[in-house]
Amino acid sequence: MTLLLIPGLPLVSFVILIFFGRRLGRLSPWVSLLALAGSVFLSARLFVSSLHPFSPSAIHFSFLWLPLGGRPIRLGFLADPLSLTMCGVVTVVGWFIMLYSIGYMKGDPRFSRFFAYLSLFFASMLTLVLADHLLLLYIGWELVGLCSYLLIGFWFERPAAANACKKAFITTRIGDLGLLLAILLIAKTTGNLSLMNLSETASRLGPLAPVAALLIFWGAAGKSAQIPLHVWLPDAMEGPTPVSALIHAATMVAAGVYLVARTLPLFLPSPDALLVVAAVGGATSFFAATVACAQTDLKRILAYSTISQLGFMMLGLGCGSAGAGMFHLVTHAWFKALLFLGAGSVIHALHHQEVTRMGGLWKAMPVTALTFTLGAIAMAGIPPLSGFWSKEEIFTAAFGFSHPNLPWAGQALFGLASAVAFLTAFYITRAVLLTFAGPSRDPHAHPHESPAVMTVPLLVLAAGAAGVGLVGSPWLGQLFQHFLGAEAPHGARGPQWIAACSIAVAAAGMGLSLLRYGLGVRLSPGALAPAFSRARGFIFEAYRVDKFYQRVVIDPVTRLARAAFSFDGRVIDGLVNRTGQAGLWASRVKGWVDQTLVDGAVNGAAVTVGKTGAWLRLLQTGLVQNYLLIAAISTVALFLILKGV
């Protein structure tokens, strides 16, 4: 029952806030903070008890939800290391982001509504995380999508936000179809949708396991913004920045990664399925990193960076290592939440988010600048900050990846990962330099440091971003990976040079960025400049994928819809109306027959009577004297007749 309370408390807070939010006013965030603190506390207790060697590693609670003849569906909650890890990240990082939001959202007309939505998000997200059943996971999955929709469109008066929230929901829903189909497939084949004993499910699926796995991955790709369903995430930045930090960086988008990690036993039997995950993750990661290099909107840089990092996690998972992927998920949640909140702090001060109009902010906003830089370094992967450790895990996993038919796959993935790490270091350093270093490029700006309610979360997250990586580092004996225990941690650590290589790549990226944006060295050779700028435009528009989808998907569907409508009106309804007209025509013919022939006879009789009547009418003059005269004459005539003339 404790398990039920973890998502239950935020749900209660949601209900309270949606009904009484307006009356609570400025108190409303505290309701949700309190509820979430309860969830934090409960998860911590579960966490501690799961560490205890003698307690059962999985705590489980379930109830009958759908009684269906012989095959009822029982839903339940499950606390195992994987879900507790995710649970901890969501609740703890989420709590600080929520705290931060009090400052960020101050003065918004829908202040308490914002916290209501956040509470609903936590309830759904924790349901997703703790679900022991694919169906319950799907329910949470869709609900976090809804919260994402509501929160992206929180400032729905802005047309861009209105478009973005719709796009986010529909795009992720396209992904959700995959998950739904996977559920249908698994349900039909094995009749068991439980998330426990997935390896048994996998063996019962037999050759269908990779199909189910890839369908699940399709769903995960939608939520975690992987190619080809990544288009919604950059637009989702229209939401308030804490939302971007919480939902579109730290937690919800990571749900896809979590899902794949959770269902990894379905992927493991098939190297092909794993390769697809790794390849898509790697490609997404590389693609998004290049786009991030060209963006000028601070939040969009971070958005593409998130896509890239999520791809990176997928790459790790695709290499068969749940530990690597999940570890990066955890560290990423901290440093990316930090980066977003830092960006939010900057936006809060400047009221715009164009890095080209920033610069020199470190003097005005020292805390923000410091913590943001820390987050950037953590993401770039410089030891001993958290990003380094988790990236190294992924490098190791990639290097160790083996595919029976493609012996070079591991090396290729490793190369791809290195390139991504290089680009990551490059663009995040660029963002830091453009934002905080150098002279201010906007003379009208009067930046100021954010209030304590915003800077305290920044500091806490910065501490986390710096330190959380240690739990998975070899210094602490890879505690985290042992705790997850999903698979045997890599007995043999990767060669030492992998760590060195990782540091070198990150340093190279940062150095190049420093050269270009810190010292102003022009890197593009003069002759190539035009080509370079054209390429940059193309990359800036994210390879014009949006336009491509508009032309290839949205427009045809719209046209198809119109065609269907006109088909409906002209052909089908036309047929109905034609039938109706035919009926009408037939009845007219029959009406004519009736009138002329049948009615003719009837009317003929009537007409005869009428005519006679009209003629007889002449007798009735209405003059009393006429009648009297006739009466007299008739009497006389009667007499004469009676006399027998």
């Binding site: 478009n163 349900a187 109905v576 109706g580």
Partner: protein
């Protein structure tokens, strides 16, 4: 049988309707009170049925059986089981809600309520009749008041819509009558009793049975409506006044799908199995085609009407699966579609009453002007697009789950309907609620307490069955299991 409670439920509205006729037409509040009281009483009685129903029994409960027309062996035979009880309750609920929504009607209130209550009797009777003859009478009884309610109180093209509805449905019923008579003469001794015919089976040559099935199919298909017999629906919905649209979508469409469950499937199990693929294909077409056409709409009400076509497709899919999950899903979806689309039509009406337009492009940004209305509209739209936690999801999911083992490819294609559904509902929400406020509606009034009161019970059930569908599934279970046994298909899900 101790108390003829079903007769009370069925004929209370009729009695109240006759009472309305005796009331002077100036006394509008009295008329309203009579109609409200009668429907409320029916609602209370059917709720009582709901709670007192014994879900452990597969057979009919509260049966009433009185000889009616002895020479041709017609019985006045009523009864409910897990199949019909949710629908009786749905009808009672929507009738009550729609009466409240009818308070805005200004003209000829007396005739309106008489016809309305007559309609209620017809609908309730259809769901509890266990004699084909009686069923047919109630079925046809629904048409007449509906015709007048659309034709007199409807929109600009009301006469066209009313006649189209009437003739179309009547054309279908004629074939049903033929099928009923065929079944009647095939039984020995001649009988109209549904339970008896089910028990005996219809003793006809297979090809004749096919024709009988098709006869029933045509009648039910028009009512559901199944593509390509659906075009009366948008016209009738758009022209009908709001409360009538609610009943039309909420109850009348269910009469068609109920017919499949009550008559076609158990009476002709072999044919049902033979036609399962066809039903699945038609379900797919309904889902996807309905959604596509809905997407192209500019009229809010028409959009909701086409979304009904799409949702009823899920009912068909569930039905075609011939599995416990599919049947449960189909029945649940019928109920859910009733309350969700009923709510949608009420909300369309709320907006139309204030703005006198249903053109989607005429709105914009209402979310900031009327937040409560926006919340309610979003709620029902989300329920309609199948958001988990709200009841629409459970029905759709079960329908798909049940259809998948039988027709995997069709199911895989049909899930596209979910995306399209999300697309057109979100597009609608965006056009109406989001974006900058259209200055034309700067003075728009917020939804009133009375209107919220009509929506509140529907919301309650949307949430309830979304979160805890077990309750209603327990109720349906035994009846559906019996039906599955009858169909003799391998049991899965």
């Amino acid at each position: 049988m101790n108390h003829p409670i079903l007769s009370w439920i069925v004929f209370l509205p009729l009695a109240a309707g006759l009472l309305c006729l005796a009331v002077p037409k100036r006394q509008e509040s009295l008329l309203k009170a009579i109609a409200t009281g009668a429907t409320l009483l029916v609602l209370v009685l059917s709720a009582w049925l709901f709670f007192r129903f014994d879900p452990g029994l597969a057979g009919f409960q509260w049966e009433e059986k009185v000889s009616w027309i002895a020479p041709i062996n017609v019985w006045y035979h009523l009864g409910v089981d897990g199949l019909s009880l949710p629908l009786v309750f749905l009808t009672a609920l929507l009738s009550f809600v729609a009466v409240i929504a009818s308070f805005r009607i200004k003209e000829r209130l007396k005739e309106y309520f008489f016809l309305y209550l007559l309609l209620a009797t017809g609908m309730l009777g259809t769901f509890v009749a266990l004699d084909l003859f009686l069923f047919y009478i109630f079925w046809e009884l629904v048409l007449v008041p509906m015709y007048f309610l659309i034709g007199i109180w409807g929109g600009p093209r009301r006469e066209y819509a009313a006649i189209k509805f009437f003739l179309y449905t009547l054309a279908g019923s004629v074939f049903m009558l033929l099928s009923i008579l065929t079944c009647y003469f095939a039984s020995a001794p001649h009988s109209f009793s549904i339970p008896l015919l089910i028990e005996q089976g219809v003793a006809l040559a297979p090809n004749v049975k096919t024709w009988v099935f098709l006869g029933f199919f045509l009648a039910f298909a028009i009512k559901v409506p199944i593509f390509p017999f659906h075009t009366w629906l948008p016209d009738a919905h758009v022209e009908a006044p709001t409360p009538i649209s609610v009943l039309l979508a909420g109850v009348l469409l269910k009469m068609g799908s109920y017919g499949f469950f009550r008559i076609s499937f158990p009476l002709l199990p072999q044919e049902a199995v033979n036609f399962s693929l066809a039903l699945g294909v038609l379900g797919f077409i309904n889902v996807v085609y309905g959604a596509l056409v809905a997407m192209a709409q500019t009229d809010f009400k028409k959009l909701v009407a086409y979304s009904s076509v799409s949702h009823m497709g899920f009912v068909l899919l569930g039905m075609s699966g011939l599995t416990a999950a599919g049947f449960n899903g189909a029945l649940l979806e019928m109920f859910n579609h009733g309350i969700i689309t009923g709510g949608m039509f009420l909300l369309v009406g709320v907006l139309y009453d204030r703005t006198h337009t249903r053109d989607l492009s005429a709105f914009g940004g209402l979310g900031s002007r009327v937040p409560v209305y926006a919340g309610l509209l979003s709620f029902f739209a989300l329920a309609s697009l199948g958001l988990p936690g709200l009841s629409g999801f459970v029905g759709e999911f079960l329908a798909l789950l049940g259809c998948y083992p039988t027709h995997p490819v069709i199911t895989m294609l049909s899930v596209l309907g979910l995306v399209l559904g999300a697309a057109y509902f979100l597009l609608t929400l965006q056009k109406i609620l989001l974006g900058p406020l259209n200055s034309k509606w700067a003075g728009l009034a917020e939804i009133s307490r009375r209107e919220i009161f009509t929506l509140a019970p529907l919301m309650l059930f949307v949430l309830w069955f979304g979160l805890w569908p077990k309750w209603i599934l327990d109720l349906q279970g035994p009846a559906l299991s019996a039906l599955l046994v009858k169909l003799a298909v391998p049991h899965s899900w």
